[in-house]
Symmetry: D4
Subunit: 147 residues, 8 copies
């Protein structure tokens, strides 16, 4: 049995790589899905496909229409969603992915540093599991498939 795992959250650090490598090393039957991790490409994909847009708002709208297409399709395929929040960014799209997962009744694992407990308290309360590191999230997933 394979698990499909969507990794929502910041694309500025290498936390996804960490999880993927650890899973690979332990030969876990996990398939990881997620957003485009190349930030510039993600911001420009709208204009890349649709051509130059008249202003920054329209450039953003074009890009996010393609990025939301990706998220929607891949989130639909996921068995479980991990959302990671870091100290540096607002990450409203991460919250959106996390809340979409909850509303689709897909279990959510929230990774956040303890410093963020206050602003994230409502989301934490809704998540199935709250941890502080990617490694803890992987441990929880590993536990699911133990005989």
């Amino acid at each position: 049995m394979e698990l499909m795992i969507y990794l929502a959250g910041e694309i500025h650090s290498n936390w996804r790589q960490q999880i993927k490598e650890a899973a690979k090393k332990q030969d876990l039957p996990f398939v990881f899905l997620g957003p485009m991790e190349d930030h510039t490409r993600s911001d420009n994909i709208g204009e890349e496909i649709l051509g130059k847009q008249p202003d920054p708002v329209l450039k953003d709208d074009a890009a996010s229409s393609i990025n939301n297409l990706r998220t929607t399709i891949l989130l639909n395929k996921a068995d479980v969603v991990i959302a990671l929040f870091g100290l540096q960014y607002k990450q409203w799209n991460t919250t959106m992915d996390a809340a979409s997962a909850l509303a689709l009744q897909k279990p959510l694992i929230l990774i956040r540093p303890k410093e963020l407990h206050h602003p994230l308290k409502e989301l934490a309360n809704k998540a199935q599991v709250v941890v502080e590191t990617p490694d803890q999230a992987l441990q929880a997933l590993k536990y699911i498939i133990e005989a």
Copy 2:
């Protein structure tokens, strides 16, 4: 025909009051729902009901369990959700309410200053309507019930 409208978003400014008064003045058949607007009470409601908690994380979890109860029940009753984002706060819970509305297939009106267009682009792309002021949101709602 009455419309139930959930007003998600920051509780530090008086934007809800503005909308409610304008609606009242025009005698619109709108019922407004929303979160607890007294910030201190919202932060303390967990301890008020469940007693002193051992640490700030648990205090927050207690409070958010009650606040989420409120949001869930009222969001379920809403015909449409308005979410307002301002420049000052992270407002992850606003995003959560907005995304829950989307996932429940309730239409979303997003209010945000133009300065926030980039970080909010994915949510804006999913919203049914994006405006910049509470007054514009009310105009859109008023249009729904015009004969």
Copy 3:
């Protein structure tokens, strides 16, 4: 028991008025919902609320975001949907409303002149009832509430 009836379809003729008046005359417990019937206002509502848009495509997108807000909210409240097609217009939005109703498992009554049977055959096949005049649609609705 009151029935909520959404009247989708062209806004260039007075067929809605006909149905509403006939229902009123017979004192039927029907509430009629529908799109903005003032065509110019419907086309301009986006700019009216959001201000002048840079080009016709964006003007249309602004208008349709408000018009779709109206349709979504009102369609959600409907018990049954009537969609009328005439010979003159493409009416893709009528088809969209009709198909949305079907997908939401709300029964659909299709009104169309016999001349349109070929291009509308797939929709006709999915509709619960197919008639040729607004009066026939009203007869069908009246039958529902006969003791």
Copy 4:
């Protein structure tokens, strides 16, 4: 990971072939589904299976019952739907497929020439992505599976 893609829209031009060949050349893991593309066969399938029908309306109804069977089953299997509109036809069934996809919460990519922006504005506003050429639609799908 394979994506199932339903190609709704006119069957008079070879746009599907174009997309399929481009996908094959790039070895993309896409499975394409769609309506019967042989127009005459599609119009006659009802009589082919059920025998000669008494009049054109019944012939059409017989055909569309079989064509709708095909659409319903294949649309249920799709991860994403592409709908192409051209200048020449009314294509109400394309709109129906597009709206069904939306109501089933499957993301929709709309392909339409800019000339059609006004009559298609409501559908465009609901689509996840709006492009002008089949090639742009394929680019968007390709982006979804980039690592």
Copy 5:
């Protein structure tokens, strides 16, 4: 609190009248819904609205499209469905109403004479309550609203 109760089943006997009168006598807060009980009118309603049909199959299809419109709308409003089977008729439409109720997760009360236990065993097994008389069904409903 009012209960909406759909009474599916044969229209040849007066069992609905019996239930309605007993409920009225006891002043129970029940609203009863159901099919057209005038058999001839039910068989002819298609032609009454759509005009003379070319053959009996088409006459039946026209009638059942209107009767199914009625059933669908009223079943959607019901809190609970009662289905009565008698010894005399095939009543496939009663079974259809009963199974629709089950699939919509509305509880079903089945009324059938003991003689029918074998052919109705699968439906009986799915029903929430199985009784032999209309009076027993009413007793069960009355129990729901006892303080």
Copy 6:
């Protein structure tokens, strides 16, 4: 692409065999599911598993609980449902399977002799396709997977 097809209907004739063999001969990618076809075994399965029951009603209830288990699990897996009605039996369980399929939004193909058009008119009106022979049903399914 494989299609899962549930064959509901009488187990006294060999119509399933006919369809399966024709599909095999043409090498169609169809998997057929259905009820237990050994009538005696189907009637006795309750007592076989649960032991001798006190009376015929309880024997029937025990058997139908196991048979409904089978139907529910297999119907959930089906892409499309075929229901065959013959002249001889009441087949209320066939109607139940057909109506369950409809309510789960799975397309239904109804096979019935023309003589049954009147008592089956409501179900026929809801079915996606109505034919008279198993061979016609297979033709319709074959059409779905034609390139």
Copy 7:
């Protein structure tokens, strides 16, 4: 705005009375629903309606079919569910009501003495709010409707 509140849990103590009276005293807009509280009547309702049953298992099945009818109908109407567990009883039906509420995405308030934290830990983890007294549950509900 009125809230419908289902009170699941033991019927041997007067906790429901407590909540109802407190709500009445404070004039709260709450409607309380719940199971039959007369234990003997609840155990005998099956035989009362269906007549003497051959053995205790069948007597229980008859009773629970009627009691489940009541629970299903009333739970469907509830905005929120309160489930109270005491030290003395196994209350598997309370758990069933609580889990049904969760699965229907209705928020759950769990009332349990601290001594029960271990056996109820999975349910507590799923509940929206966990408290120890009926009065705390009422406080949480009151908070929902504060302006």
Copy 8:
């Protein structure tokens, strides 16, 4: 065709082993899923991943958040759920799993000793099949896939 079967219930006896071995011996195409069966590990998994917790309630909450993650993911994958109740334990979490299955419209097979018929009567009434031994449950599942 493979069946996914979730085995809910006590983890103190070896009933799962019994079923799995019997299925293997008969070469049945069944995949068995279930909770962590090592009781100590199940109770400690929260602290194992999240570190030492301040008190037993929080230790339990941490553990159950991980155990519920497992149950939710695996239950979502199941075609059918078996729930076994024994005489010794309260097993509220088993009831929760059983009721979740019911609410997700997955068929439930209940295994319980006859002595438990009274306290489990509501759940038994909702289950698709009620048996007394694991072997009987396996017989019922085997029947599903008989040709």
